[in-house]
Symmetry: C2
Amino acid sequence: MKRAACHGLLPLFVRAVSTAAKVPTYDRRDGDNFLALSRTRTAEWWHDGRMSRVTCDLTISLDGFVAGPNQSLADPLGEGGELLHRWQFEEPESNTDALKGILAAGAYIMGRNMFAGPGRWDEDWRGWWGEEPPYHAPVFVLTHHPRKPLEMQGGTTFNFVTDGIESALTQARAAAGNKDVAIAGGAQAARQYLSAGLIDELRLHIAPIVLGAGERLLEGVTNLNLEPTEVSGTRLVTHVRYRVIR
Amino acid sequence: MKRAACHGLLPLFVRAVSTAAKVPTYDRRDGDNFLALSRTRTAEWWHDGRMSRVTCDLTISLDGFVAGPNQSLADPLGEGGELLHRWQFEEPESNTDALKGILAAGAYIMGRNMFAGPGRWDEDWRGWWGEEPPYHAPVFVLTHHPRKPLEMQGGTTFNFVTDGIESALTQARAAAGNKDVAIAGGAQAARQYLSAGLIDELRLHIAPIVLGAGERLLEGVTNLNLEPTEVSGTRLVTHVRYRVIR
């Protein structure tokens, strides 16, 4: 698609998820590194399966950045930012469950920049995600610019929401039924939902790198009470699931 | 001891370590929370037991702070900073190995502020740690002010090093024999050793809290290549052991 090359990681991400779904291998030898994904459950999960939760998956650096410095359309993750996602691209089969979890929701909410660049719509262009986005579910895009829903192949429909994050959540909940609603990113949307107390589970994927500068996930987010419920990881990532305590 | 009350957490820390050493219980029920400390090893540890490593244990918030804002002698961890250490004080028996690891070295190095407040020595005062500090080994204190070694009860001797971090490390290595050398803190000393490439293993204890401001562990530390080798945790902390790759 037009401009799709700007978001070079997305096809890789789709491939990673697709590979992970097919290869449920939890342990392997990789040279001298033993990659294990046994889990440590640190608190009983309260979810009883009856209620849709609001989840949010984000990959951050050890110093808390979701993107490196100097983000641009050509370099949406900023300098060094692509290193955050090595775990997805280099070892999808060791991170099967984390990758599947990212795409397990019944509806998604994303910031405008996750769908396309800023400004008024170029309606000839149907977003970063190509004709068959990996969501296979309704996606609600937060924007100031109205646009008609965009039906893609494979069950994904992009709906454009101009009246705020709570409206988007109400619509996403209705669309998700019994499944979860996922805040798909970016960091600004995640911060807005975290600050509003609207996220039930934050799943951080902590990459063992130091970016030094860029966009911080938790900048300005206060009054956040979290409880780790599960930790796991590989040599490229530490997965921590946090329940948000209210 | 004089002024010892200023560092109110230290007696608690000593008690926590002491409790942990006596109660090797890995799992317990705490209301609805199941606290487990089974481990996920994510990479083979290269340590073959023949060589002394340099380790560093630090507790940080989810947004990367080792202390909250407005640190002072009366409030050395800053506002909210004491919440970082709940895992040590409230559930020592669930964090036995992490606590024991902090005090397993054959020699320790600490910044001046970990031993006493700033400025010239008041030689009548023998530091925050009381007459029997928990180290039971030689401790090398980084300072600009010379002072004769201070022998305490239980095998701890404070040695004051005025000629820099490499000199302190050379002396600590000689004192540790086959055991590890631990950089005991604070964050400034840890940053200096990390930036100089002198730490082999960084053990982060990530508390599930957001401090929003304060002293950041990794501020200004670049060129740091890390590999997680083990993750574990409870509902109050996520332990990650990182090998520093050179």
